[in-house]
Symmetry: C2
Subunit: 101 residues, 2 copies
Amino acid sequence: MILLEVLKSLSNQTRLNILEWLKEPFAHFPEDELADYSPEFGVCVSDIAKKAGMSVPTVSVYLKTMMSANILIATRKDQWTYYKRNEEAIQELAQYIKVSL
Amino acid sequence: MILLEVLKSLSNQTRLNILEWLKEPFAHFPEDELADYSPEFGVCVSDIAKKAGMSVPTVSVYLKTMMSANILIATRKDQWTYYKRNEEAIQELAQYIKVSL
DNA sequence: TAGGTATTTAGGTAATTTCCTAAATTTGCA
DNA sequence: TGCAAATTTAGGAAATTACCTAAATACCTA
């Protein structure tokens, strides 16, 4: 884990929100958009962009940033890219801060 | 705790380094600079600036930023301002990430 | 192969952050 | 009172980040 990279990826309100939304997709995204939702894959880029009220390209880059930091996991499926949280990495971050920061 | 503010205050390599140095001052600062060191107060601005290899004003602002985020605690004593880590706030951050992020 | 949907990449402007030097302030002490 | 040391505040240049729109790419299906 590259701590600075992880912290940078989390130091933006929209990116923090995305992480929250992905924790409970059904509480944050319209049900019809989650018609084919599976916790294995997550939520696709355009649904997240719509929820964020930002352009798809901006959110695409945000998601990619968080994936590079290993906080999100991406899965390409047909023409969609689904993103979900990397719970292990988030716990690793918490543990690192607790014992090593 | 304002999560975004805390994360921003930590998303800079120099500020992360400062937090590390303050964890074990004797391992990171020259002994003579720590002549009157006390864990109750910490290390003064100019010693931290020297260690960082940056100007005093820059480091002064960095420290103030981290204090505003509640990650550091400042104590003014005569003409010196000493900074130490806020261990409770750091643990609170770790816990927040663990259970709520 | 053509056309449609989803995503990514490129390129640009505005805002923020990084870091400096100079000036102002705080505090101790002769 | 007035100088000296430590710090903070002000102001500015350069780099990075935050967003956008337009264009390119990926992948489906007819």
